[in-house]
Amino acid sequence: MEAKDQKKHRKKNSGPKAAKKKKRHLQDLQLGDEEDARKRNPKAFAVQSAVRMARSFHRTQDLKTKKHHIPVVDRTPLEPPPIVVVVMGPPKVGKSTLIQCLIRNFTRQKLTEIRGPVTIVSGKKRRLTIIECGCDINMMIDLAKVADLVLMLIDASFGFEMETFEFLNICQVHGFPKIMGVLTHLDSFKHNKQLKKTKKRLKHRFWTEVYPGAKLFYLSGMVHGEYQNQEIHNLGRFITVMKFRPLTWQTSHPYILADRMEDLTNPEDIRTNIKCDRKVSLYGYLRGAHLKNKSQIHMPGVGDFAVSDISFLPDPCALPEQQKKRCLNEKEKLVYAPLSGVGGVLYDKDAVYVDLGGSHGFQDEVGPTHELVQSLISTHSTIDAKMASSRVTLFSDSKPLGSEDIDNQGLMMPKEEKQMDLNTGRMRRKAIFGDEDESGDSDDEEEDEMSEDDGLENGSSDEEAEEEENAEMTDQYMAVKGIKRRKLELEEDSEMDLPAFADSDDDLERSSAEEGEAEEADESSEEEDCTAGEKGISGSKAAGEGSKAGLSPANCQSDRVNLEKSLLMKKAALPTFDSGHCTAEEVFASEDESEESSSLSAEEEDSENEEAIRKKLSKPSQVSSGQKLGPQNFIDETSDIENLLKEEEDYKEENNDSKETSGALKWKEDLSRKAAEAFLRQQQAAPNLRKLIYGTVTEDNEEEDDDTREELGGLFRVNQPDRECKHKADSLDCSRFLVEAPHDWDLEEVMNSIRDCFVTGKWEEDKDAAKVLAEDEELYGDFEDLETGDVHKGKSGPNTQNEDIEKEVKEEIDPDEEESAKKKHLDKKRKLKEMFDAEYDEGESTYFDDLKGEMQKQAQLNRAEFEDQDDEARVQYEGFRPGMYVRVEIENVPCEFVQNFDPHYPIILGGLGNSEGNVGYVQMRLKKHRWYKKILKSRDPIIFSVGWRRFQTIPLYYIEDHNGRQRLLKYTPQHMHCGAAFWGPITPQGTGFLAIQSVSGIMLKITQLIQSKFPFAFNLPTSFSGMFNSALEVAKFEGAVIRTVSGIRGQIKKALRAPEGAFRASFEDKLLMSDIVFMRTWYPVSIPAFYNPVTSLLKPVGEKDTWSGMRTTGQLRLAHGVRLKANKDSLYKVLVAQSLTLSPKL
């Protein structure tokens, strides 16, 4: 048996081994190498025909150039968004099973019910968003527009179904995404041969549709209701490594395939009017191009909207951080599908969503509503309390007035209440920033906690100290305690206010301040004149000084203590300061405190403060609190505190210190400081300029100033004199930039200030002509004139020799010199090589190469420009970049969208370019699809899918005559392109489109879109007899072309006197009396302005594919049983052949 099993050795007939053997064999035979055939038999390889050679060369060049594409700038982001994989196929073909299997393959998790898109991490650099596409044509159209890859499932036991082809045809017009076929139900074949045949047949049919060689996957059978692991794994591998070609529409428009939707409408509004327009937030990865805030978007199936707000969120399904390993570990295999209830804890701008498992259905909308109710319940304070804690600023740089200020002016309000209000910082914020009310109570607390945590991190030592202090001072004066408590509050307040300011303030400013943070760290306290952090400090300084004013001169120590206190306060305000927010409140708070402290008796306060601070100071330095300190000690302590504080405070402290001690501005003499200031001014200039430009927006503020106007006697209004800005609004519109303070150009130094702007001035190092010339001299100084044979040397012979010798000597002495010489030599070599390259390679670089190089350079620049900036600033400049996970808020969404929300249907937010949101007359070139049996009629409503949109409109078909005139057609031609014009959204040229008769119908026609705006015309036949009524009419048509039915052409010449309306005409041939003469006249046709977006997503669940719009006249007639009144003359009559009666022969 064994002998039988062994295979006989087979000789290799091909491969390297065989080739080697063959070669050896030939050598043995003395026949030489095969490679030498050219040498052996040169005649066989000689040029036989120059023409043929030219042709073959031509051909190869043609093939080469065919491969060229117009180079485009590569704008793909560094971290691309997940790839959209659309799983498409007819019903019962195994789409859901395949998705489940794929998810299980990639994440080892099993999703029981899949609704909406599922995002998974499939590899180190790739994520996938898998979405199922049903058989609704609306869904197919929408998904074809966003798909990167289509897995086209085909039931092999049945063969192709119409859905497959419909989808393929949709894909063809909307940019062809990658398409991969997957054959399922292969286990139903009994015979292997039949299976093979079917596979082959299907494969070839698939190839004709997609492209020859398109990948078709076979899923051979099911195991326990799932596909075989190995096959799914292979399919997954294919998807993971697949490369994609950018599609024009997708790369030029931003779009989001939303994977989550929340209703943000005020529940009260819904309660009062259940049909009120909703405010929703949609979440998803941004794809395609950059999306800007406030831009226009279109939601297919819903309508056009303006983005009311957009923000980016942390990536819920992020790629792994480090890429060192070959494969992902289990932790990194994430899956995110909020619509299916997978995703765990979701952080949002104003809420945290915790997934509560299977019961967390989307439709019941527990999340936001519940939170809002919670927030309502937990609102303890009355409106009075809010009023008390609210503050108003009368002047831009004054401190805000609180209710207590008003109290002092005579308004009665219990003081205790005020205190209590101030204790609850959250309430205050709510009142001030009304927009924060919306956010739930729970997250407020969360925020508070977080900010407290921050506080602990930032100034833990400080707080500790204070806590201890509080514990010690329980039996001390209440007033002091009040101060301390206030201080703590202050800390909390300022920190808690931070997020609120993030909303209200210019985000950019903050980010810019953050950029500058590093520099701030080692700069003086004078650095930021504009930021409020500085104000806070100055405020605290003022506080220190204010208290100083009330001190007895002997108490200079306690003065210092005060200073320390203010410094500590400053520290408390530090987190805010770091983030660069203009917290006017903070200033106010510190001032407030100073006021309060000054209201106390100076001595008491001082002593208390002194003690308190001393305790604080003594803590780190381990000195007992009761110890009396001399000035020297004090400095020590200061330094100890400094150790605790950050470096930047160091500086400030010193400043203040010196200021306090010397009183004079001694520190200003510090040169390094001056330099630092100069540097800072430069740093500050840019944000200032930006703030100057973008900070204040001069929008129309009429309403506001109407309110401020006084009324006199209820009838007249005081006409206040124009303010400056108003004056500016009506000033001269001129682009010239007049010189306000001209320089005196006769002065020498003024003239010198622009010396270097001229070629006669000093040049940069690398461009200085003298230097460049010198270098060239060095390089090209020696040359040999080939014609004369003279050898020119850069320098005269003996000299150079001498120099050479000298050099050698020098080299021996000086190793540095040697190195420099080496460098010089290398430089020389490099330059020579460059020269050579330039000379010989230039011919090679074609226009194409140049263009490609240019694009590459641009792409590099695009990447590099904003790379170093943080996302907050970046989104301001370039918009939200693709790959970000964003949250988009949209207002005025029809309530049906929320009520009839079906997660199975894709929600797409398609960004619109400028004026793509406008509607106008659009022209396109189209052709009836070969599978549509009928032809199309002008003025029959039809559904188009153009760009992101699907809409119904009334097209008019036309054909262009040779003279450019567009002649109306009643019906489209059978197999030819024709034009169509309709009223619809303006779309970029060259966009593909398709049209369907109804949403459940078949596709009709496909081609390019061309636009223009022209009147149309069609012909109006008129008969010869009685063509005109008067001579005047004839005069108007003089020279017009007329023709007979048989095609004899003529021209109207002149009117005749009688009969009225008769005219003389000339023809190219003789007419018969029986000829009918036509004149074609033209009449402009107006296009009905009918544009009706298909709002299929607003239909109830389960009926989304039943949208119906305007019906055609034919359908209406059929429905109502109205028959067309036929013209009697047009009816076909039975032709009765008259018997021919011949006249009798004579």
Binding site: Q682, K728, A729, K1013
Partner: protein
């Protein structure tokens, strides 16, 4: 509905041109209210009405509504159409007033624009046609708007108050613009100029040239100032003279300055020598400001950068003029675009004042009116 694109609202007549131009390009309707509402003579002036008429001529389907007093203007833009147009500009403002806006719009029309503008070619308020020809046209060329048909021709000169000048401007159509990186202004290699005089002694121009040269010669020897004395019908209806100077750098940027005599019957007579000297000083002032684009064309450069593909464009400018600052704000409200603004201090080099580096990513604008054939 799509037609009700969110419109923008402004008050006051200032910056009317930028608002209307940006509205046309972005397709967003704009409403301008309180146009000189508090003045004795409220409403739009003749020259503004003329500008609106011009816009109407080069667009198709625009809707313009002005209330009875002329204090409120609603403008819903149509598509830019272009073609051959003739327009009689108001003599209250120079042709430059109209031409500046046309330069912004012309590359994006449907049919190449060929427009004849009649009115005041040179005045003291607006940038003159000479300056625009010397500075704006090369700037547009940087963005890829170039070709045989790209020209600005001065057929007749007209000075205020009579006018009577005529220029022909033709511009090819582009679908997309190229991004630019103008960060090196280079060094000034030559100064050219045009001293013109109409209906005055031809000697005036020569006197201007001499005085201007006397100042500029201290900096660079390569100066040539052409004299242009127009006669007969080409000289317009009013007398006057003036000088425009342009400094060209090694990297192809143009800085300009100009001065014109007082209009007939207004103000004191100006000596040509003074005018020449002052104009030369203005040029030096402009050089002191510096940048790759001169101060009148800053907004044009920024607009075309905005309308580029989604690529990074950079330009180095001198100090931003108030007009430009307002323009940047308008760009933000119409196109949601923000520029990255970096101040480049002058440093040690003797190259005039501080410069500003403006960086932006284009919005990916494409000419929707251009037909595909």
């Amino acid at each position: 509905m799509a037609t009700q694109a969110h419109s923008l609202s402004y008050a006051g007549c200032n910056f009317l041109r930028q608002r209307l131009v940006l509205s046309t390009l972005s397709g967003r309707p704009v409403k301008i209210r309180k146009i000189r509402a508090r003045e004795d003579n409220p409403g739009l002036r003749d020259f503004e009405a003329s500008f609106i008429r011009l816009l109407d001529k080069i667009t198709n389907g625009s809707r313009i509504e002005i209330n009875q007093t002329g204090t409120t203007l609603y403008y819903q833009p149509g598509l830019l159409y272009g073609g051959s147009v003739e327009h009689d500009c108001s003599v209250l403002r120079g042709i430059g007033y109209y031409l500046e806006s046309l330069l912004c719009l012309a590359p994006f029309v449907k049919h190449p624009l060929k427009i004849v503008l009649r009115g005041v070619t040179n005045d003291q308020v607006d940038p003159s046609v000479d300056v625009l020809k010397a500075t704006a046209l090369p700037l547009l060329k940087q963005f890829g708007i170039d070709g045989e048909s790209f020209e600005l021709k001065i057929v007749r000169r007209g000075m205020p108050p009579g006018g009577g000048g005529e220029v022909v401007f033709s511009c090819p159509v582009r679908k997309v613009l190229k991004p630019i990186q103008l960060t090196d202004p280079g060094k000034i290699k030559r100064i050219r100029g045009m001293a013109y005089s109409v209906r005055v002694s031809p000697q005036m121009a020569n006197r201007i040239v001499d005085s201007a040269r006397s100042i500029l010669n201290k900096f660079i020897p390569d100066i040539y100032i052409y004299t242009d004395h127009m006669k007969g019908v080409n000289s317009g209806k009013s007398p006057g003279f003036g000088l425009s100077l342009v400094a060209e750098t090694t990297s192809g940027t143009f800085l300009s300055a100009e001065l014109a005599s007082n209009p007939q019957g207004q103000g004191a007579a100006v000596l040509p020598e003074d005018l020449g000297r002052n104009c030369a000083r203005l040029l030096l002032e402009e050089i002191y400001r510096g940048g790759c684009v001169d101060s009148t064309n800053q907004s044009l450069a920024l607009l075309l950068m905005t309308l580029g593909q989604q690529d990074v464009s950079k330009v180095l400018l001198g100090p931003l003029s108030p007009y430009t600052i307002e323009f940047l704000r308008h760009l933000k409200s119409f196109f949601q675009i923000m520029f990255k603004i970096e101040t480049k201090p002058c440093g040690e080099e003797l190259k005039g004042g501080d410069k500003v580096l403006m960086t932006c990513v284009g919005i990916g604008f494409s000419n929707l009116s251009k037909t595909l054939k």
